[in-house]
Symmetry: none
């Protein structure tokens, strides 16, 4: 028994919109424990929609359609489904009444084209749409096949799903087994290196463990299928503990944690404060730190020293060192960190200076060369050289620079 | 002749990630004039991937795969395609060499599991991956069927598509009838208000005009179908001109322009410089400005004055005014802008102070209240009160605050 998601809309084929509906429905199916193995996108074309139905009913029992329920002539989903199963459409007076009232509430008169939305296959149940005019259906056109249709507007679809489809599916016995996941987050290790370290876990069946990578970070998703979230948590907990032990300090957090929120928590616990001095990231490190509400408890601010004059004036970087070693150097990173710490009066000072590119690189100082400076509460001043490589591009070099700076500070709490 | 997009990845079926790759490829196919009628998502499962290939080759001639090229055991796309067509995999020494070098450049050693990424079907061409370790392939496993594979990491996929797939497809004769689009960008007007102003244009057939909205900005996409980009441009140009005239100063740029890049261009043209003082945005305004390579020509830096002590120490804000009017006030915004301008010695100073939420709001100063300060080259100091509303949430309030600050400076160049 499995479900299949079928998204109808030429705008998806033109790339005009992101298919957020497929992601939403995928998450919802997972949370109900309903397996689904395929998603299909097809345009507003009756012959192709029918072909998709033919394939879907050969491999799934629950077909979930989104899109193509509107009042315009290119909205064909409902009539095409009815036609496929050879069942006539009937006009539902209750839908006409509902649409008329909705127009009246906005001081408008129902247009003739909206009448089309009141046509549903004979025998289908109406899935009421509280916010829009397009109702959906729940229909068993033949033994063992259940069809849901939803409008493509996400807010309408979400509400209809939650209010009508979820109770229906639970009533059918779904939701007894749910898929619950935890996502462990790692920094400072590559996907393949981490996968090799945890190789035996990648073959587990329940929970499963799968690696993902992106923007310099690696994640391991642990997913359990079980009757409840608490049973799933019990299945996940020992695996999570073992994975964390194997990864050591490369593990930094789970689920919604970010490097910035984790560093913030460490600062909060130790009663310490932080300031930053940013050159090539231009404010991105400060922005990451302040994404967390309440970060003002430990983050005091900093200096964006994009121009060298700002490094000298606001951070006290030595102009002779700037001249001799260049703005992208270990000594300038150290002076930036130390300068922002002393001028702002914080426990820690963290700095970034580098070549984000695509221009500005030299043989000695290529694009991707980034120095991170750290001034510690005990007066220690450190710097770290990173070579992120030109290939990553400006935006990713800046992102990875800010994350690496946070990671360096994070690890200091364990050293 | 048509293409089909096949996205492989269990993470898509679990709803862990949005399928941005399908949207990107859909746009790219449209711009080359290559029809595509179906998109399929399937998990990392060889039998199901084979079933999808079977269906796809019955209705399309170009199959474009994304995902499942990584080094881990669940990455099965390439070997499954080879297996489907009964062709053995061969290890490519050039790929091994490339991966080894990439690891070496980052000071790491290639792991044994990465060897798997050097296996491609006999007879396939390698699609080099300049940024990551997973190469793709272009392969004609049988007459009339062309297969492309790309990694699932969007940045890698985009670059490979542009550098290798586009030239290949153009060489095959595609791109003769193309869909070419221009996206006009507006700030300071809502979607429905703009749509009403330009209503007659929304019914055009070639070019078409369609409105989109998101993150505080509205776009109008003008798309023309024609034999060449130059013919398309000729169709688009008069419509673009009229739309800009109707929108006036609410239009700020097109395509890849951002408010920050447009402001940067205005500063560059006038030979002026800018510094920023940020409270609730925490560095986000500086980050936006420095997303543009070369921004150091006009952006000198700034102060992240998250804590009030920083506003006083580094910006010279009057402590009594801070006490009397609060950090979120017009007078503090003005002093921040003026302070950063004079301390950094730039032509302009731009400041932001507000309540980003979700906590920290009061009846007098609710979440979403944001003051923007502007200190001009002629000594004029202005402030602007904005009420962005609590409903938008912390992240969007911060984003819209930074954009609005840039928009205020932009409009100053025309007043």
């Amino acid at each position: 028994m499995s479900a299949e998601i079928i998204c109808v809309g030429t705008e998806l084929l033109l790339g005009d919109i992101l298919n957020g509906n497929a992601q939403y429905l995928a998450q919802q199916l997972a949370s109900l424990g309903i397996p689904h193995y395929y998603q299909t996108v097809v345009g507003d074309n009756p012959e192709r929609i029918k072909q998709v139905i033919e394939i879907a009913i050969s491999r799934a029992q629950i077909l979930i359609f989104t899109g193509g329920l509107g009042p315009t002539p290119d909205d064909l989903t409902c009539e095409t489904i009815a036609d496929f199963f050879g069942v006539p459409l009937v006009e539902r007076a209750d839908i006409i009444e509902d649409i008329t009232q909705k127009f009246a509430a906005r001081g408008r008169v129902m247009t003739p084209s909206n009448r089309k939305q009141a046509l549903i296959p004979r025998g289908a149940e109406v899935l009421p749409n509280r916010t829009g005019t397009a109702p959906g259906i729940i229909w068993e056109p033949r033994e063992g096949i259940t069809i849901f249709t939803f409008p493509g507007v996400p807010s309408e679809m979400h509400r209809m799903w939650e209010e009508t489809a979820v109770p229906y599916l639970k009533n059918q016995g779904w939701g007894k087994e749910i898929i619950y996941s935890r996502s462990l987050r790692f920094w400072g290790i590559g996907e393949s290196a981490l996968a090799e370290k945890v190789a035996p876990y990648l073959n587990l069946l329940n929970p499963t463990v799968a690696p993902y990578a992106g923007k310099g970070e690696v994640r391991l998703r642990i997913s359990a299928l079980s009757p409840s979230k608490s049973v799933a948590s019990d299945l996940i907990a020992p695996v999570e503990k073992q994975l964390k032990e194997i990864a050591g300090l490369d593990y930094y957090g789970a689920d919604d944690d970010t490097l910035a929120s984790v560093v913030g928590q460490l600062l909060r616990e130790s009663g310490e404060t932080l300031s930053v001095a940013e050159s090539c990231t231009g404010g991105g490190l400060g922005q990451m730190l302040t994404e967390t509400s309440g970060s003002s408890d430990y983050f005091w601010g900093g200096v964006i020293s994009y121009d060298n004059s700002v490094k000298v004036r606001l951070l006290g970087v030595n102009p002779e060192d700037l001249e001799k070693f260049g703005a992208v150097s270990a000594i300038v990173a150290e002076q930036m960190a130390s300068g922002v710490r002393s001028r702002l009066g914080t426990s820690w000072g963290l700095s970034i200076t580098g070549v984000a590119g695509p221009t500005g690189g030299t043989e000695a100082k290529p694009v991707g060369l980034v120095y991170i400076g750290l001034a510690a509460p005990n007066g220690e001043i450190l710097s770290f050289e990173n070579r992120f490589g030109v290939a990553r591009g400006r935006s990713l070099i800046r992102h990875v620079s800010a994350c690496t700076a946070l990671d360096i500070l994070r690890r200091k709490f364990y050293s």
